[in-house]
Amino acid sequence: MIKLAAVYGLTGLMFAGFAVYSALDRNNAKRFGNAAFWGLVALSFLSGDRLGDLANGALVLGLALLAGFGLLGRGQPATTSPEDRVTLAERFGNRLFIPALMLPLVVGIGVLVLKPMVFAGQPLMDPKQATLISLALAVMVGLAVALTILKQPLISPLQEGRRLIDTVGWAVLLPQFLAALGAVFAAAGVGKEIGMLVTAYLPVDTRFAAVCVYCVGMAAFTMLMGNAFAAFPVLTGGVAIPILVGHFGGNPAVVASIGMLSGFCGTLMTPLAANFNLVPPALLEIPNRYAVIKAQIPTALLMLTINTVLMYVFAFRP
């Protein structure tokens, strides 16, 4: 059975390669900072399970300090010039899309065909991790195709990957840092505390007010926690089930479903949802860190209003 550990090993090797080539990059004045940062990430992926909690904590502190003191630069791997790329685009034409199309194709096959397969009583891949395992397979297939039909150098995956990872920089790890912070918040009972404040101080005595408190509360709470999944149990347990369903007789399917989607409106507006909101501006080389959030706010606010109305209209029909 292919397990997630294999995917972690592959990811670790990739970051180890980034670290080695960063250290050799004389065009980057901060090359050893980059090498140390990506090296620690590689260590985490390759042997995080053997390090123990405290050593992992020290590793995380090291990463935060390297980033916090501005010790990361931007590597300058040798790559093609913009002029070369125009020429190459004319030569290869739409063949360029074939390796990129391997990603959806192989992920689709992995999730739909390979995941249910069983060999000698064992599933081919860990069914809970089928998406990530399929993604890793898809990348390998895509790279093999790209190197063959586009005739790119064998070292180019590592060097080009390093070019992109340095474009994003320390923000690469922000989603994982925030996920870990969410776990610390949950252990300390931060969610419960906010939930108690919401239910103690906000008006929930009319049906309309209660719907507004739940929907807007889901969005606001998600913005604070960075994740609708953290907000859902608190507000659904605190407001939706006792008041909207219990007291006003609302349909729990409508209430829960639209409540979660109201939380997603909050996800679109918070920097704490870094993988959706802060990594893309870095990846797209937009100078304003909050540009994607800014682009999303109007849609998010309109959708929050619409969700509130939808819940009010559909949850209480006999």
């Binding site: 993604l135 300390a188 990594v279």
Partner: protein, 222 residues
């Protein structure tokens, strides 16, 4: 009450633009401190949580592939391809992408596209190419706006259609939580009630994209 100071650290830290990785660590230490944990225990708890969440960063495995096809000119080809199509605009292109992304996500194929593997190498260069075809004197500011809108379109499309797929994590989380509150429900009921929001999000976001097109046309005509 005092454990909420951790949340305050996050808000203030992000607002004054301290390095976010440092802010997150400070917030975790603050929260743990006020929850009565000794500092080393907080560091260990944070380290364990970091290690348990490594799957979040596995998605960067796509970067070497994206980089290689960029090296061979995929972004230039995407921009070239789009200018050959008649009547294409930033808004119409992104609306088409949104429709594709909503339909595939609703049937469980969310991981087939995304910011790193689709928006950066293909969709954003196409959108910029479409705008440059209409107005060759396009400013950098406008290019940044177009890129941000392309990224936003992917997020909006995914967020409001993923719950239509019954085996989605958030749907299963709802089923689990409701059953722990003695409300037993088939996930299909939750998925059905995600459809009105999905339709509304398409209308709302598509309208915004068309308004953006109008703004671009007004800028192009002096």
């Amino acid at each position: 009450m005092l454990i909420l100071l951790g949340v305050a650290v996050v808000i203030v830290g992000f607002a004054v633009r301290l390095n976010p990785l440092l802010v997150v660590v400070l917030a975790a230490l603050t929260t743990g401190w006020f929850a009565g944990l000794p500092p080393l225990a907080v560091v260990a708890a944070f380290g364990k949580a970091f290690n348990d969440n490594r799957f979040v960063s596995v998605a960067y495995l796509v970067l070497p592939l994206v980089g290689v096809v960029e090296r061979a000119g995929i972004r230039e080809q995407a921009a070239r391809l789009i200018t050959r199509l008649e009547g294409v605009s930033v808004g119409r292109l992104l609306i088409t992408y949104m429709l594709f992304r909503q339909l595939t996500t609703a049937v469980g194929l969310m991981p087939i596209a995304g910011q790193a593997q689709t928006i950066r190498p293909i969709v954003a260069p196409m959108a910029e190419g479409a705008a440059a075809a209409q107005n060759p004197a396009i400013t950098d500011e406008t290019r940044f706006d177009i890129r941000a809108l392309a990224a936003a379109t992917d997020n909006v499309a995914v967020f409001f259609s993923e719950d239509i797929f019954v085996a989605m994590g958030s749907v299963l989380l709802m089923v689990g939580f409701l059953s722990s509150s003695k409300i037993v429900m088939d996930p299909i009921h939750l998925s059905v009630w995600a459809i009105p929001t999905a339709l509304a999000s398409f209308v709302v976001h598509a309208a915004r994209l068309l308004l953006f097109d109008r703004r671009l046309r007004r800028v192009a005509k002096p």
